[in-house]
């Protein structure tokens, strides 16, 4: 097995360019990567993944991944499953928008305040799933999972 980072979760955003929900996936994933769980996550580039990026595919074969999709076509989840392994969790922005009772979220180019709020909610959901995969307590604290030497 190649030398890969330890104890990381891969995040794959659909980045759908046609829908504002696609932009929400990007913003949410970046929020988790940069702020919420910077030590526990990496992003995998979906276009590269689809274009045959070996590094991305190898990571997704051996490490847990969370697919973050804008709509129920779930391109990120399906691509991960098709080319590597089934993602351990699948987050769909449209579903969270319903739960949040979000109204119009702006455009794919520019999210409005509601869109930014939705991205925060999606980011929190991704962080929760990340913690679950790494067997951490809510808030990012390390738990006592077997094999967890952190």
């Amino acid at each position: 097995m190649p030398d890969l980072p330890k104890k990381k979760v891969g995040l794959i955003a659909c980045s759908g360019e046609e829908l504002p929900e696609g932009t929400v996936t990007r913003r949410a994933v970046r929020k988790v990567l940069e702020t919420l769980r910077p030590d526990d996550t990496v992003t995998l580039c979906l276009p590269l993944f689809l274009a045959g990026g070996e590094g991305e595919r190898t990571f997704a074969k051996h490490y847990p991944t969370i697919a973050v999709d804008g709509c129920d076509k779930r391109c990120a989840a399906r691509a991960t499953e098709k080319y590597s392994a089934e993602p351990v969790a699948s987050v769909v922005v449209a579903d969270i928008a319903k739960e949040c009772g979000c109204g119009a979220i702006g455009t794919a180019r520019r999210l409005n305040v509601e869109g930014l709020r939705l991205a925060e909610a999606v980011a929190e959901k991704i962080a929760e799933e990340t913690d679950r995969q790494l067997k951490k307590k809510p808030g990012g604290q390390a738990g006592k999972a077997a094999g967890d030497k952190r």
Binding site: S15, E17, L19, R26, C45, L50, A51, C75
Partner: protein, 139 residues
């Protein structure tokens, strides 16, 4: 351009890890919303590559424009695999060489230089769109 002519599909790399990818994505929006809205249309790269029939119909065996952030050219590859008859490439990593003072930063929120770079890439893409349109009219 005839009102019945199909819009030219534009795919951007949508790279989530680098500013140049973000600039490519922004350039696609500048092109399709500001510069040539009547002639172009954004298509979602992930849908295309996953074989979505509706997205592939948008390509329809015609010319398309790819705006890529890095040398891996995922958008160009995606369009080529989706049936585009010709893929016209804009490489943001080349565009920035022609605008050496720019220092793009950010992914979700590009800085001012990133937005300028996106505009420069979109300007180059608009010229290509006009050429494609001219060829179609002449044909």
């Amino acid at each position: 351009m005839s009102p019945t002519r199909r819009k030219i599909p534009v795919a951007a790399c949508s790279g989530i890890g680098k500013s140049l990818g973000a600039a490519a994505r922004e350039a696609a929006y500048v092109l399709t919303e500001d510069l040539r809205p009547e002639k172009t249309k954004v298509v979602a790269l992930s849908l295309l590559v996953m074989g979505d029939e509706e997205a592939r119909r948008e390509i329809g065996g015609g010319a398309a424009v790819a705006i890529d952030g890095c040398k891996l050219e995922c958008a160009a590859k995606g369009l080529a695999c989706s049936g585009a008859s010709k893929v016209h490439k804009i490489a943001v990593f080349d565009v920035i060489r022609r605008h050496r003072g720019l220092k793009p930063e950010g992914v979700c929120d590009l800085n001012e230089d990133g937005l300028k770079l996106a505009r420069a890439a979109a300007d180059e893409a608009a010229k290509i769109v006009d050429d494609i349109d001219g060829e179609g009219r002449d044909a």
